[in-house]
Structures are given as C-alpha cells and as structure tokens.
Amino acid sequence: MVRRWKLLAAMLAMFALIAAGCGDDSGDSDDNDDAAPTTLPGADDDPADDEIPDETLVVYSGRSEELVGPLLEQFTADTGIAVEVRYGDTAQMASLILTEGDNSPADVYYGQDAGALGALSNAGRLAELDQGILDLVPEGLRSPDGTWVGTSGRARVVVYNTEALTEADLPASILDFTDPKWSGRMGWAPTNGSFQAFVTALRLVEGEDGARAWLEGIMANDPVTYDNNIAIVEAVAAGEVEVGFVNHYYLQRFLAEDPDFTAANYFFPSDDPGGLVNVAGAGIVDTSDDAELATNLIEYLLSYEAQMYFSGETFEIPLVADVDPAEGVPSLADINVPDIDLGAIDDLEGTLALLTDVGAL
C-alpha cells in the first residue's frame, strides 16, 4: 500500500517536471500560492486581507484569458496597479456579481456582450463613468446612462465557404437568406449570445412581426444549428454548410492557425441589421471600493496601446479614433454600422421568448 502511494507520488512529481520542462515557464509561481491559503482561514488571520491587498483591483472578466490576459498584465506593468482577474463566461460573471450582492469583491466587470452589461446596469450594479471616458467612444457603442463603455467592436458577418461561393453569390441583406435557394446551406447558433443580440436588434429595426417573419423564413430553410460561432466557422470551412451567421473575428483566428482555411467573411454593403456591431465593454461595479483604480483600468482599455492590442491580437474593431484595424477587418468608418443603440438591445428575454416560440430554441 505505502509503496504504491510512494510510486504514485513519484509519478506525479515526474509528470510535473516534464510539464515544467515543455511548458513556457511563467516564472511567477507566487501568484497561485498567494491565491490559495495554505493554512485554515480563520485560524489566526483573515485570508481575504492576505489575498487581496487594498490596492489590488479585482476584475471579473467574461472575456477569456487567452484574449485579454496579456493586456491586463501589461496594464499592471505600465501602471503598477496589481490586478486579480477571475475569468469565466460573460453571462456567468454578470450573474456572479448579481448573486454576490453588496458583498461582491469585484471592482470592474469586463464582458463581451452589450446585453450582459445592460443587465448589470439595469440591476443598478454599475457606477457612472466619467464623461471624459465615455466621450472617447461613439454614441450607441456605450451605455445611454453612462454606466458602461464599449472597448472593442465585434461585427456580425456572414462567413462563407470559398470553394462553394464567391462574394457575388451573397445577397445584399441578411433578410434575403429566407429565399428557398438557401435551403439546407446555412449554419446558425440560436443559443449564442451574439446571435441573440442581433435578433434583439432585428426586432427594433424590423418590428416584432418582421423579426418573427425572418426567423420563420430561416427555419423553413432548415438551417443547421451549432453550439457557437467557432463551430459554425469550422463547419463552413469544412463544407458542412456554405454560409453561417457569426462574429467577424473568429475567421482571423483560424487564418492565423491555418492560412489555407477555406472560408471568408462577408460584410453587408449597406447598413443592414445583419451587420450589427456589438461590443466588448467594461463598467465599474457599484460596490467597488477602488473606483479610482477602476477608472484607471477603463481608461487604459481605451488607450492607444490597448486599442492597438485589440486590433492586432483579438482582431476586433478599435473604437477609438486613429487606431487602424487588422488587415482584412474594416474600420468603424468603413462598415455601414446600422443605426442601433446598443443600450437599447437589452430585452433578451423578449428575444428568447420569440426564439422559443418559432422553435429555434
């Protein structure tokens, strides 16, 4: 028995060594040790004080560490402000703040859907931002009541298989995909937050009946349902379907891993609701005791450096003037952003009811 467990311990240690050998050693092993108390809390000191000193900013990020981790590290390097980040899903991090209530340790919420930011704002959980910060970003891409601000843009596009189609085959409006000729050739993700935000926008632009008619028309064309945008882009490139409704930047990520990827993005030529630009954005949690540091972070996300990072690394659309998007990504001025106020697209429940009603969910 004892021998066996010794062997197990030895194997674990060996595995750890191998892992250390081939991984890129981060070097900051203190991070994890600090976060995990090794003594029973309450024994002699309060662990909350230990882990998070007062000058540390706590960020709940609905954006993946792969996307924004390096940027937040750069913020600490540039400003000396320590940041503790909890990474998770955009909706989950928002409900975490709502569930935590007044005791929430979070200072900043950083999510990638205007709907989640709107939900926090509607629940009164976001503090008002300085007008100077809000003014950096065009109206419509920030909260109408000044509680959150968009930090990067995410355009809805049609991704198409370049072996089956050319841009000329694609219609001028997303409304035309109800044409029976698209039957069985489309992929969509009705459970996806970005898609649902688009449907909410469609309800505002075309009215409830118009949105319902569009959804029913698409349903009649037997779209293939996927779990998320990534699955759609993969399926389009593989030829499982010919077109799919997605956000623009996934394609760039696949192209970065595989330049021969057989898919391309199609931006609608006119200001079509199908070309909605949603945002990733941030706000300060109302119970934050570090509002000043939090303001620093949000200012940083709108700085030239951060906007360049979004452009070059996440392939999103920079929202601040004078920063160019990555190759293959149009600038805010070049795409015909439909005139939709993102602050107004917070009725996700209505959208959900509609999607359920037409049988899409």
Binding site: G23, G42, A48, S64, G193, A231, E257
Partner: protein, 551 residues
Amino acid sequence: MRRGRVPSLITILGLLVGAAAALPLAYLVVRATEIGWSRSFEIATSERAVRLLVDTSVLALAVTAMSVAIAVPLAWLTVRTDLPGRRVWVVLTTLPLAIPTYVGGYTFVSALGPKGLVQGWLEPLGVERLPEIYGFRGAWLVLTLFSYPYVLLPVRAAMRRLDPSIEEASRTLGRGRLATFVRVVLPQLRPSIAAGALLVALYALSDFGAVSLLRFDSFTRVIFVQYRASFDLSIVSVYGLMLVALTIVVLVFEQRTRGREEFHRLHGSGARRAAAVQLSSWRWVALAACTLLVLVALVLPMSIIGYWLVRGIRAEEPLRLTTDLVLASVKASGLGALVTAVAAWPVAALSVRGSGFVPRLVERLSWSGYALPGVVVALSLVFFGIRVVTPLYQTMWMLVFAYAVLFLPQAVGAIRSSMLQVTPSLEEASRLLGAGPFATFRRVTLPLVRPGVMAGAALVFLTCMKELPATLLLAPTGYSTLATQVYNATVEGFFARAAAPALALIVLSALPMALLVLRETERQDVDTEEPEPTQAESSAGAAVPLDQTVI
C-alpha cells in the same frame, strides 16, 4: 446486523453533511418561491417543460441501458475468461472516465461530424458526408462512452467476489452456461449494477458538455440557455427542482433494486476463484469488441488532442502548460477528494448500519448536488458563501466544499460497498476483547474499509480534475487549473493551445485510478496462482480486494 442501534455521533455528523449537501436544493426552493407557487407550477406543467422532462429521462435511460450493456459483458470478459491481455484491457477500458465530456464531445464532433476527419479519410471511397451525429444519437453515444466505467468498476468488483460454487451447483443441476448466467450470476450482480447505473443516470441528467456540443435539448442545456439570456434563476430553479424530482424517482427505483445486500453473509472469507472460461475461437470476437471500444472511447479522443498538440507545436503556439497549473489542479482536486471522502463516511455508515427515516433522508439529500448542473450548484454556494461564511468566500476551502457537495455520492458509494463487507461481529469481537470504540474504529473498521475509501477518493479526485463551472465561479480569484486553462483556450477557438493542458488533465486524473485498478489485477493474478488463500489473510479480512469496492 444491529439495525436501529446507530451511534448518535454518526447520526449527527450524517445530518450535518446532509444539510450541507442540501444547500443548493434549499436555494432553488427559495428562488422558485420568489416567483410564486402558481407561476412555478405553470412553468413546470408547460408543454415545453413536460417535453424536456420526457426527452431528458429518455436520454438518461438510454445512456444507462447502453452503459450496462457494455459494462456487464466487459466485466465478465476481463474477470472470468482467458481473454488475452486481460490486465491491459482492465486498465484501458476504465480510462475513458478521465476524459471530460466537454473535451470528448468536441473530439467526437471534429472526427465524426458530417465533414469531420473520418469523412476526409473516406472521401476517396466516395463518401461525401457522414450521417448526422448531432441530437439524441450523438449525445447518447458520447455520454455512454465516457460514463460506462461507472458501471464497469462496481460490476467487475462484484463479479470478482462471486462464489463460483453457486454457479457450479446450477450447472450440476442441469442449467446451461447462459441460463446460469441469467438466473444465478445476474441476480447476484444486481446491487452493483444498480449502484453504477445510478451514477450514470444522474450524470447523464446533469452533464452539460456532451448535450451542448451535440445539440440535444436536455434540461441542463435549456437551463443554461435560459439563464444566460435572463440572468434570472427563477425559471431555471423550477427546471432545477424538476431535475431533483427526477433524481428522487431514480433513487427510489435504485433502492428497490438493491434488495437485500448482506454481502458479508453471502460468501465466506475464503471464496475460491472461478476457473477461467476458455473462450477458444470466440477469443477473436471478444478481442475485436474490446479493441473497438478502446479505439472509440480512448484512442480517438486522445488522437484528436494529439493532432491539435502537434499542429500547435508546428505553428509555434504557446503550450499553456506550466508546473503551477499542474500543482494547482492536483492541490484543489486532492483536497476535494480528501474532504469528500471524510464527509462521505458518516453518510455511508448511516446507510449501511442504520434504518428508518434519518438514514434514508441523509442518503437522498447527499445526492441532490450530483444531479444538478454544476453552475446551479455553484451559484447557490456563491449566494450562501458570501453571506454566511464571508471569510471563506473565494478561498480554496469554499471550492473544496463545493466539490464535496457536488461529488459526495461517488465517495459514499465506494465506502458503502466496502462497509457492507465488514461483518459487525468483527467489531463486536474487538469490543468484547476490551478495545474501546475509538480503538476498534482505528484498528478494525478503518483498515477493513480503507480500500473503499481510497477507491472513492480516487474517483472523486478524477471528477474534481475535470470539473469546470464550480471551479470558475468559486476558486480564489486568479487561481487557474488545467480545466480552466482548457476552457480559456477552447471558448475562443484556440484548440491548439488547449491540447497540452487537456492531455495533462486526462493523464493526471487517470493515474490514481489506473494504479488502483492495476494493483487489483496484480493481486488477482497472484490469487490465481495460489488457489488457497492463507488462513491469516482470510481472517484478517485482507481478502477484500481493492477494486471490488470501487463505488
């Protein structure tokens, strides 16, 4: 059996654990009452909810049936026959348990999707598309392949301790081999099949990875969709309570199936080992079946991960695998396994030695976290943690507590089965000889039950390693594990960067389980060489093999 005479300390501890395990349930009830009983009732009886209930039950049933259909013959092949390479198969067929469904489901879609990798190989043969795997069939297949070991482990254990003389009597009395298996062997296996089937059924009810990737509308998937859109747990809690109700039905059914299970009386301590059945030419069929299973459930997912890893290395992608991550995962899961095993003890003891209302209540409460989607359990613990035990909130202890609430039944099951084999007369003898209750516990009970505790802890360790929603919501801020790293990379489509941590996650969580299983087969082989166990071994109870007690 001393039914009814339960030490009150155990009862109190059991009730405490039961109360902790019932926290998520209590939270759901509170949330559901917020929208009023009539509205809750309306939601629960809506056409959609009823359809969900039926679909989800059918999926759970189908997955359970298929798991039993795979596990029972497989257990027989690896325990009772001369199948070549038995020890290898014993380990390999257990390992799919270490693959998280959110990884396994993804590898399935990328390999077997209509235009997946396999279609690419078949393209020269004129195969344009593979048949759709999405929906019921895909979810059924994936859930079965990554959860059948929950049945395999206890059934293999039970089969090993069967007394062959009963079967020999049946054969002597003129029954054929098949009739003997159906009429004599299967009934003896029933409690272990039921125990494993319960874990599989409830796992199928609560799993999110497989149903979301394979797009099957189960309760869990709808709960996620609903709650993402509304940030409101009230409708979700009604669905959650329906899931709990379904769980209770399953539990009652399982308890009926258990029947009488006084194993320590069924067989003497020195049961002989059955002679291996000669498979002769059937050997090839058996080998082909085992190979196919291992290919699909283990080799396929591992190859896809390997493919992404190689692709990532070629593209000079960061590997995202550090010592810190490995240590963080092992630490959280190790503590989780330890605390869960300790908490499971009183529940198991009550269930084995007690009778009446309290033990049954405690045992059923201990299941409530297991059948609920992880995110619901996690949010309810957030609500509880930040208000009631504020200093513990977002510490390692809160996460470990969540693991215990989520996975308690896995440890209870393992400890329970090994406790069933401890004859109370051994403890009584110890007391008669003058040892106090604590000395008896330390020197008699604990050594006898230890294999079960270790097996249960290994299983919980493996499950904690894969766990995602509770880890994301409750771990100390900034605490990354292998599972959260896999999530961080895949959620944005960086599959190559997820490959190394995913591989490490699977290997690390499989290790303790593989060692336990391997250790047992070693013992089995030794036993086969020495048909007569020594008197000392039998009387010390050392003949209770480790793997027998898994679950």
